[in-house]
Symmetry: C4
Subunit: 256 residues, 4 copies
């Protein structure tokens, strides 16, 4: 008779890169998928290499099927890119933890990894849901230390200036739990309606982040995605408009 | 004062058979009960012997009462059958894990057992719910490696050819978590309405599986079960039809 | 910095009695509270002594306030009574575990205790909900072994004779998990409407149990409780009847 | 490959004060926020110093944003104040545990800390929800020992004198679990509607507590808060009244 205990998360190292003063950038699924879009853009543009996968019983018990019929287990992933201005680790993935306990556990697992690699600064990326369309999204900020707030303000990041707002999920926890380990960090939230996947908002977040990281990357592919989303939403709006016009025309005929 | 901790699962070995290159076949309750029907058919036809039981706090806290008044605790079970073409282990049971955590834990427990017995290949069986009746169910596939996809295609298994589908529960997790241990595997999903227990779909799954395993077994009892289900559903349909006709007859009289 | 882990249950021994071939009798809250009523009656009539308390994080996070203003934490309790025909341990309490995991954990904790005291036979007591009033409740049974079924049948216990029924909660788990430890046991379920606390049903369960245990105890206090419940339900029925009559009288006047 | 386990709570000591016969006072969020208001008032008036923080995966996975743009992880906190009449430890925080398991675990963590500092007496503060407005809230009590009940009665605390009430959450558990460690304690619950944050009720609780602790503190700031809440609720009532009057005036015109 054997007793089996639940393992909450499994970390698989594909390689263990040696990095110089790396910063950690987090972009997981969330409001408008802003954080994930930004992180994926960064991975593409920096040609970042995957070095680690995180599997967890707090993700859905599910595999995805690829176009070629093969499968992949849902997971989070960490990538790295070496840069003269300082190496970069990027965290992204399919899901955030589903439960409160899992959120904490996964954040601690990520921080254990980050700490072991020498990370002292964390940027978490996300969306700031407005519930209505926003043409020129601003980037809302929060940070672990007042001097980071000041630096971000210089780069156009907006701080609300009032107590009580909250950041829920990995973007909040990585900073909050990181502080307990003496880490520093900032959360960059692009304004977004929250109704659609929002590359337009992700681009604004990337603009601030690249200034902070002192790197330059092309925004062309995010621009393209933003244009495509705009084309689709414009088409939907025009269909809605013509339906309303048609309907009021019908109504007129009906009344007349 | 004593402190008690939860044990998540208990594995009870009835015997420890020595097997040659065994494959693991999983068929637990799910859509149309296709996987469980197929696994049970395999156990019956191969005269497979039970060697192991898994009890878990992630199953309902429940016992079943047998016809003779005795009870049995809800569980999963593993059987084995020795074949010249390669030994076979079959996993079936009363329930899948109820929570996401339990699903992962139970899949890991099964993989621990399978690994210790030398399993390198896993077949997971299930239903593919269509939400409507299907006369000639196809078998939809997914696999851990492209070459398995190719072999399955030769046996008539259909691959969707588009990204994004998901396999939820034990049939997905055993493959996904198995890959992390270097195992290979395939999921065979028989198309089914999802509304009834579907031996017709289970038969198609078994046909593919036996070709892959290079074994021959009778399908007669699945044919019988399929006929019985057809008889029952036909009777229900005919009752429904006559009720509709009677009702429209009444309506006519009422109108006239 | 300290890390704290959850403890799932705490067992507090008030004393450690030495018992001869004790049987375990369980009666926790459930359908019609039949099991708990029966267990409490047994404790009173046998003048059983409390020797152990079980506290658990799977009970509600709650204390009760006594009439004198003092408090008591919710718990389960175990009592013992020494009898020539064999010693008896009785388990009762305020709650059953709230989650499936907790149900399993608490059942294992109770079995650990029972095993350490030499228990080989378990009686679990409960209600069998019918959803309608029952004047002469029968006792429905289930057991771990066919020979126990036969003995119970001699004492008038009814067995359904068909597969598929289930016993949910402690009354099922203690037997099911006990079997894995080589223990024997029976579940005695008194028929009850399930709508009210039912001493009438508890009495029938006690009658069978005392025959099995070869003990004699007075049923007077259960008779009294049953009479009181009958008085209350009769009064409610008579009020309902007069309200219906009054209403139909009003209706007649209204129509007339 | 690394396995990660969940840590349920993390206790961070800012300092380890040496205290003489300290009592523990708990005031966490709850009905009318009475307990938290009272605890915060005590901290302010006693100029108590924070010495410890508790973080837990049973709190929401969230950080708060301060007015200056910095963040703080949700937590519980413990403060101490040295007094000739006996030192005082005060527990307050952003949240109580969200699950039953977490409630138990956090209460045990607090008791571990309290025990290690020599605490033998605990006061838990909370609101007693009436569901209707109460002008002169009484303080309802419960205690671990009859002699504490008597002392509290002398200070005007009301005891219900009937069995069956329950105290849910930290205010109940700290006393119930504390008793298992030989600690003594009392729960002081200020009557409150439960609909608003209620400094008026908190003041009555503080009055009793300070008598029990033989300390004197100003109630001025609680009086101010109570006045402010009264001003706001009076304004709301007057708006409601004028709306009702306006509406009935409109109705009259409409009918006339």
């Amino acid at each position: 008779m054997e007793k089996i205990e639940i393992r909450d998360a499994t970390v698989v190292y594909l390689k263990k890169p040696r990095l110089k003063n790396p910063v950690l950038v987090e972009g997981l699924p969330g409001v408008g998928n802003v954080g994930k879009l930004a992180a994926e853009h960064l991975i593409d543009e920096l040609k970042a290499k995957k070095f680690l996968e995180i599997y967890s019983s707090d993700f859905p018990p599910q595999v995805f099927v690829n176009a070629d019929g093969t499968i992949k287990l849902v997971k989070n992933e960490m990538y790295y890119a070496k840069r003269k201005s300082g190496d970069i680790i990027i965290l992204t993935g399919d899901f955030q933890g589903m439960s409160s306990r899992g959120q904490y556990m996964l954040a601690e697992a990520v921080l254990d990894i980050a700490e072991s690699m020498g990370v002292e600064m964390i940027y978490t990326l996300g969306g700031y849901g407005l519930g209505m369309e926003v043409e020129h999204p601003r980037v809302i900020g929060a940070a672990t230390h007042p001097e980071i707030v000041k630096t971000l303000e210089k780069h156009g990041v907006v701080f609300k200036g009032e107590e009580g707002g909250g950041i829920i999920g990995a973007s909040g926890l990585l900073l909050g739990l990181g502080m307990l380990r003496g880490m520093r960090g900032a959360c960059l939230m692009g304004e977004t309606s929250g109704y659609i996947v929002d590359p337009n908002s992700a681009r604004e977040v990337i603009k601030v982040l690249t200034k902070m990281l002192k790197i330059r990357i092309s925004l062309a592919s995010l621009d393209e995605k933003a244009d495509e989303v705009k084309r689709i939403t414009d088409r939907i709006k025009s269909i809605e408009k013509s339906m309303i016009e048609k309907k009021s025309g019908e109504d007129l005929r009906y009344i007349g």
